[in-house]
C-alpha cells in the first residue's frame, strides 16, 4: 500500500510503525533523553518512539516541544520519521531543526502499529509491505 500526502521535512526512513490516534505533546509528554512517552493517560505511555515511523494525528502543547524533537535527535532517540494527519507548527519546526523526515495529509487510519514501512518525504509518500 502506498499513501501520498505533503512534504513537511525531506528525508528517507524505513522502520516499524508506531501509531496512536491521540495527539502528542512533546514538551512534557516525551522524555527527550530516552524517547519514552511519559504522559499520564496517553495510549503510548511507557513505549519508546526511538527509531519508529511515528504516526499520529497532530502535535499539541507548548512550542518548546520543537526543542524536544531536536534533543531526541541529538540523543539518538528520535523517531525515524513522523507521519501526521495534519502537521502543526511545533512538529513541523521540530522536524526541520532536527532533520527528521516528516509528511502529513496522510490517511493515518490505514496505517497500523507493527507494519513495516518506508517513508520518502521528498515524494511525500509512505509505502507499507
Amino acid at each position: 500500500m502506498k499513501l501520498k500526502g505533503r512534504t513537511i521535512c525531506s528525508g528517507k526512513a524505513e522502520g516499524e510503525i508506531l501509531k496512536t490516534t491521540q495527539g502528542i505533546s512533546f514538551y512534557g509528554g516525551v522524555n527527550g533523553d530516552t524517547g519514552i512517552v511519559e504522559q499520564e493517560g496517553h495510549e503510548l505511555k511507557g513505549k519508546s518512539i526511538a527509531g519508529k515511523i511515528l504516526v499520529f494525528p497532530e502535535g499539541k502543547g507548548s512550542t518548546v516541544g520543537s526543542y524536544i524533537l531536536y534533543r531526541l535527535k541529538k540523543n539518538g532517540k528520535a523517531p525515524a520519521a513522523i507521519v501526521n494527519a495534519k502537521c502543526e507548527t511545533i512538529v513541523a519546526v521540530g522536524c526541520i531543526i532536527a532533520e527528521i523526515p516528516c509528511i502529513d495529509s496522510i490517511e493515518i487510519g490505514k496505517l497500523e502499529t507493527g507494519m513495516h514501512a518506508k517513508v520518502d518525504a521528498e515524494k511525500a509518500a509512505i509505502e507499507t509491505e
Binding site: 505533503r6 513537511i8 521535512c9 527527550g32 512550542t63 518548546v64 520543537s66 526543542y67 524536544i68 531536536y70 534533543r71 541529538k74 502537521c87 502543526e88 507548527t89 511545533i90 513541523a92 519546526v93 526541520i96 531543526i97 502529513d104
Partner: protein, 390 residues
C-alpha cells in the same frame, strides 16, 4: 509557495547554513498555513530564552545557528531565567547562571539586542501602525496587534529566530486584513480601572471566547499599563493574538454578530478565584515587565517603609536604568525590595522556593499556579505593596 530569487538562494544554502535552516522553517510554515508568498518584516521578538525552558538541546540549537547566522532586522529577546547581573542576590544557582549566559551569548553573536524583556515596545522595539513584524511572546503579540496596530502572528522561538535571520515571514494569519476582524462583541457592564481588573477582564473574556478576536465596548479610557495587563491575560487564558477596544485601539473592524455581556460581578469572581486566603511569602510586580510609571508608583509607596517578605520588581534592564537615574531604585532597594531585571516569575527557576505569591498580574497568577504550584493572590499595586510591608 512563490519564492523570490533571493528567497530561493536562501533555501539553497547560498547565504549560509543558518539562513538555509531558517528559510526551511519559514517555507514549511507557509505551506502548512497556505501562504502564497513571503513578506519582509521590520522587527522581531524572540521567545525561548530562559535556560529553564530551553535546556541543553535548545542551547545546542542556538549555538549551531550562531555559527553563521546574523540578524537582518531589529531583534530583541524575551526574559531570561535570571537577572543577568544580579542573579546571585536572587538565589540563582551557579550552574544555571553559566548555562543562561551561554544562551544569551549565542543570541549576541547573531546580533540580537540582548535586552531580555516581554515589553520590547517599552525599550525601543516599538513598531508602528500597519508594520509587518514577527514576534513571539503572547502578551507582546497581543499588544502589538491590538494597541500598536502592527501585524504579527504568534511565533514560536525558532520561527521568530528564522524571521530575524532572513528578514522574512510567510504571509498568512494575522498578516492578512481579513483575519484581523472582530468575531465577538464583548460589552462591559461598567468601565474598569487598574491593572488587576484589566487582567481579570482578560481571564473572563479569554475563557469565554478562546482564541477568537473580541471587540470590547464600554471602556472609556485605558492606560498603557492597563492595556499591557489585558494583552497578557487575554492571550494566556484565551490564546487570541488580538483584541479591539472601541475608542482605544486603532484598527478598523466590522461589528461582529456574536455578542456577550461581561457583568462586573464576573470580574470580581475572576479576582476572587485567583485569590487564596492567608499570607503570601512572595510579592512580585512586573508581569508583563513593569513600566517606568509603575516603578515610580512603587517607589513612592515604599518611601521610608520596610518590606517583610521577598519582593521582586521584574522589569527590562533599560527601564531599570531609568529607575536608577531617577533614584527610584535606591528608594525601592532601601525598603528591602529587589529588582529582578531581564527575568520574570514565569521563566525564573523558582519552583519550590515560595508557597504563595501576591501580584497584580492575572497572567502571573496562571503560571505561578500551573508551573510553580504556588497559591496566588491578585491585588492592586497599592495592596501588593501594603501586603509586602505587613
Amino acid at each position: 509557495m512563490n519564492l523570490t530569487k533571493e528567497e530561493k538562494e536562501m533555501l539553497s544554502g547560498k547565504h549560509g547554513n543558518a539562513v538555509k535552516k531558517s528559510m526551511e522553517i519559514l517555507k514549511a510554515l507557509g505551506e502548512i498555513y497556505g501562504a502564497k508568498k513571503m513578506i519582509s518584516v521590520s522587527s522581531v521578538q524572540i521567545a525561548g530564552v530562559s535556560y529553564d525552558n530551553l535546556g541543553e538541546p535548545g542551547l545546542e540549537f542556538l549555538a549551531e545557528m550562531a555559527k553563521d547566522g546574523k540578524t537582518r532586522v531589529l531583534t530583541t529577546l524575551n526574559p531570561a531565567g535570571m537577572d543577568m547581573e544580579n542573579w546571585r542576590a536572587l538565589g540563582i544557582q551557579e550552574e544555571f547562571a553559566e548555562k543562561q549566559e551561554k544562551v544569551i551569548n549565542a543570541f549576541a553573536r547573531m546580533g540580537v539586542i540582548t535586552t531580555c524583556t516581554c515589553t520590547p515596545y517599552l525599550i525601543g522595539n516599538c513598531p508602528h501602525f500597519g508594520e509587518h513584524i514577527a514576534w513571539s511572546e503572547s502578551s507582546a503579540v497581543a499588544f502589538a496587534n491590538s494597541v500598536l496596530g502592527a501585524y504579527t502572528n504568534r511565533e514560536g522561538g525558532p520561527s521568530a529566530l528564522a524571521a530575524a535571520l532572513t528578514g522574512k515571514t510567510p504571509e498568512y494569519g494575522m498578516h492578512l486584513e481579513k483575519n484581523r476582524q472582530a468575531e465577538v462583541l464583548v460589552e462591559l457592564e461598567k468601565p474598569l480601572r487598574e491593572t488587576q481588573n484589566f487582567g481579570a477582564l482578560g481571564k473572563v473574556v479569554g475563557e469565554k471566547i478562546g482564541n477568537k478576536i473580541p471587540l470590547v465596548v464600554g471602556q472609556d479610557k485605558a492606560s498603557l499599563e492597563e492595556l499591557k495587563s489585558l494583552s497578557a491575560s487575554i492571550a494566556t487564558y484565551g490564546g487570541t493574538a488580538m483584541f479591539h477596544m472601541k475608542g482605544i485601539t486603532p484598527s478598523k473592524t466590522k461589528k461582529p454578530k456574536e455578542k456577550i455581556l461581561v457583568k462586573h460581578s464576573e470580574i470580581e469572581e475572576a479576582l476572587a478565584g485567583l485569590t487564596a486566603e492567608g499570607t503570601s511569602d512572595f510579592v512580585s510586580i512586573g508581569c508583563p515587565h513593569a513600566s517606568i510609571k509603575e516603578i515610580e508608583k512603587i517607589a513612592k509607596l515604599l518611601e521610608g517603609k520596610k518590606v517583610n517578605k521577598e519582593v521582586w520588581i521584574t522589569t527590562a534592564r533599560p527601564t531599570k536604568k531609568i529607575a536608577d537615574m531617577m533614584g527610584y531604585t535606591k528608594t525601592i532597594e532601601e525598603a528591602g525590595a529587589k529588582f529582578a531585571a531581564d527575568t520574570c516569575c514565569v521563566v525564573a527557576p523558582i519552583k519550590g522556593r515560595f508557597n504563595q505569591i501576591t501580584t497584580d498580574s492575572a497572567k502571573g497568577c496562571f503560571y505561578a499556579a500551573s508551573k510553580n504550584k504556588f497559591k496566588t493572590r491578585i491585588k492592586s499595586i497599592e495592596e501588593c505593596i501594603k501586603e509586602a510591608c505587613e
